[in-house]
């Protein structure tokens, strides 16, 4: 299908049109910080300020906190009340790094087992990607095979070509959406050439690089090098920022809240940075900070690719720019020694 385009002035109309069929989410600072928030019907100011959200769109599929079910004592057993299925979401403006992140965590929630909560949202959702034209200083997506303005992980990809956005269908769902959307104009060959240029320029703007070559083997080789990990972990304060706000970190905790004879089971994000994450009645295998930092790095760059092929990092840069002590995973990955010569 030939690509389409839409004037930026008409984006509000477009989102309102899509709101008839979807719960539309778009970048917003309404909550006090940039998130993918329910589209309010008017404000397209994000087209000017939006770089990326602080809270990754992972939250639209794996919320920070959700009710799994409510329960009530009922004779000998319990009456269980399940939450309604997820809404049909349309996420407008997701960045290629964050779209890839969803594809990465699918490996856990979709392929390894079928997580009903995640899938009831994920299977229904339409992702509208918006190419990133000013990647941040902390971004390093190109080192992980992602280009800031290109994506195969969305349904429809938009590229900023000046006064207009070029729209290219990526998936069958994207084609279907374009077909039933009114108000889109046909793009010219010039528009397409311009978009190609924009994508290329954006790609070259990503200057932060990591050396991910042979990273699985390199990490395994230095896994027991306590000195290395202690040095790496020295300034880490063991907060949960880099994990909870990471678009690919998916660990969760489950808690019951019981009041008298009834209660709710909650699921919420958890973080391997916290000592209690691995605390068990008799011991804690990761009581020391260096072991937790090692776990975080090795899970993303070692164990995850060993299990599922992909590295569980998309170079979105959130952990780098949000860390209160500037603990920078790109420096850590680059300092993991080459496989040979690591044993002392």
């Amino acid at each position: 299908m030939a690509s389409k385009k839409i004037n930026k002035k008409d984006i509000a109309k477009l989102l309102n049109q899509w709101s008839r069929d979807f719960a539309v989410f778009a970048p917003s600072r309404e909550s006090g910080v940039a998130t993918m928030a329910r589209w309010g019907g008017k404000d397209t100011g994000f087209l000017d300020w939006y770089r990326n959200t602080v809270v990754a769109p992972k939250a639209n599929f794996l919320p920070q906190m959700e009710e799994m079910f409510r329960f009530q004592k009922d004779g000998e057993g319990y009456h269980i009340e399940l939450p309604p299925d997820g809404e049909k979401q349309l996420i407008f403006g997701i960045r290629p790094c964050d779209a890839r992140a969803l594809a990465i965590i699918d490996a856990n929630f979709k392929d390894l087992y079928q997580d009903p909560y995640y899938l009831s949202r994920r299977n229904n959702a339409v992702l509208i990607g918006l190419g990133c034209t000013s990647p941040g200083e902390s971004c390093f997506c190109t080192s992980l095979g992602i280009s800031p303005a290109e994506s195969n992980d969305v349904d429809l990809m938009l590229t900023d070509i000046g006064n207009e956005l070029l729209a290219e269908a990526v998936s069958a769902a994207g084609k279907k959406l374009i077909a039933k959307t009114s108000g889109l104009k046909a793009a010219t060959r010039n528009d397409e050439a311009r978009a190609k240029e924009v994508k290329k320029t954006a790609h070259n703007k990503v200057t932060r690089k990591i050396n991910a070559e042979g990273i699985v083997e390199r990490l395994l080789a230095c896994f027991d090098d306590q000195g290395f990990w202690e040095k790496v972990a020295a300034k880490c304060i063991s907060c949960g920022i880099c994990t909870l706000l990471c678009p690919t970190c998916y660990c969760f905790d489950i808690n019951d809240e019981l009041i008298k004879q009834q209660g709710t089971r909650f699921r919420s994000l958890d973080s391997c940075a916290f000592p209690v994450y691995t605390k068990m009645p008799m011991e804690n295998p990761r009581a020391e900070k260096w072991k937790r930092v090692r776990q975080k790095v090795c899970h993303k760059y070692g164990f995850f690719p060993m299990s599922f092929k992909d590295i569980a990092c998309t170079g979105c840069g959130r952990c780098v720019r949000l860390c209160p002590v500037n603990w920078d995973i790109t420096q850590v990955i680059n300092s993991v020694p080459a496989k040979t010569g690591v044993k002392k």
């Binding site: 910080v33 304060i237 907060c239 949960g240 920022i241 706000l245 808690n255 002590v325």
Partner: protein
């Protein structure tokens, strides 16, 4: 000042007077620094002092074994003194490398002044009471008071009172009323409005606990939020539980909080936490005429017992 610091730090390690040096080195992003915690004398060459040394390094003292030479701004010196009062740090185990601090640059404020994201700025420099921003080949100047953190505007001790080596000339407090603007606004709100304000702010808390983990006064081995019997708060980030977490944390650090502002700065979702901590700081001052971290020989406010001041219940 920087070279003097490097020399002193190197000498301390070489002479075996300390096992560790804690200071700042250049960060990996523009206009940032990062804590440097090292035993290696050669690393001291990377030590810096500049308007971006944001962290409160006293936070690292309780997690380190051995004697430490530590780069110390006024706020850090108060945190160290508070830790000494609480017997968490022995005065003899720290060599305080005092740094007079005229205020740390708040990049969020600079972004607003420049109308640009920090990534797009070419340079930010501090010249006495001016901050100079270079962007798009142009130079913009602002009074420093518009570009430094609120807690720096409120700082009562820019130059450490407790130190072993003082690097540079003492600098006076700024004492700008602007530091308390947000708190004033909150106090003027009707209770319902203020409740709604905090509901909205705390709804986005992710329970990353960065506010707690950057805080030198939060030194509990086990935080109440991690207790399961009883479970004081739900570990999930429900706003009401987030509120309880903040209130209890605030009460726990009363008399220890030095208004260093780290909790608010560290918050990834920009919850105005200092509006809570500073208010508590002022309440402590008003009720007990106590300023935390000013005198290492003073007894810690809420953990000491004096018979004559006890109410009948405790006698």
């Amino acid at each position: 000042m920087e070279q003097k610091l490097r020399n002193e730090a190197r000498a301390l390690l070489e002479q075996g007077k300390v096992d560790w040096i804690i200071g700042f080195e250049p960060g990996s992003l523009k206009f940032t620094t990062t804590p440097l915690i090292t035993k290696d004398k050669n690393d001291t060459e990377r030590l810096v002092i500049n308007p971006f040394i944001t962290n409160n390094l006293a936070n690292f003292l309780t997690g380190i074994k051995g004697r430490v030479g530590i780069v110390t701004k006024g706020c850090e010196s108060r945190s160290i003194v508070s830790l000494i009062q609480d017997n968490k740090v022995a005065r003899g185990d720290v060599v305080i490398l005092g740094v007079p601090c005229p205020g740390i640059i708040d990049l969020s404020k600079v972004e607003k002044l420049a109308g640009k994201h920090r990534d797009e700025l070419d340079d930010i420099t501090r010249e006495k009471d001016r901050v100079i921003i270079k962007v798009d080949g142009k130079t913009k100047e602002f009074p420093a008071t518009q570009a430094i953190f609120d807690h720096c505007l409120a700082c009562e001790l820019p130059t450490p009172k407790e130190y072993d080596i003082l690097l540079g000339e003492p600098t006076p407090p700024i004492a700008s009323p602007a530091a308390q603007e947000n708190i004033k606004k909150l106090k003027q709100m009707a209770p319902e409005e203020r409740w709604a304000f905090w509901e909205k702010e705390l709804a986005r808390c992710t329970r990353c606990y960065a506010c707690r983990n950057v805080c030198p006064a939060c030194f509990c081995q086990r935080c109440f939020v991690e207790e399961t019997e009883p479970q004081w708060v739900l570990p999930a980030p429900r706003w009401q539980d987030n509120l309880i977490f903040q209130i209890i944390r605030n009460i726990h650090v009363a008399g220890r909080c030095t208004d260093c502002g780290e909790c608010e700065r560290a918050c990834p979702v920009k919850i105005p936490l200092r509006s809570l901590t500073r208010e508590m700081y002022d309440i402590v001052g008003e009720l007990f005429q106590f300023k935390s971290g000013m005198d290492k020989d003073a007894l810690p406010l809420l953990t000491h017992y004096a018979e004559q001041e006890a109410e009948d219940l405790f006698r």
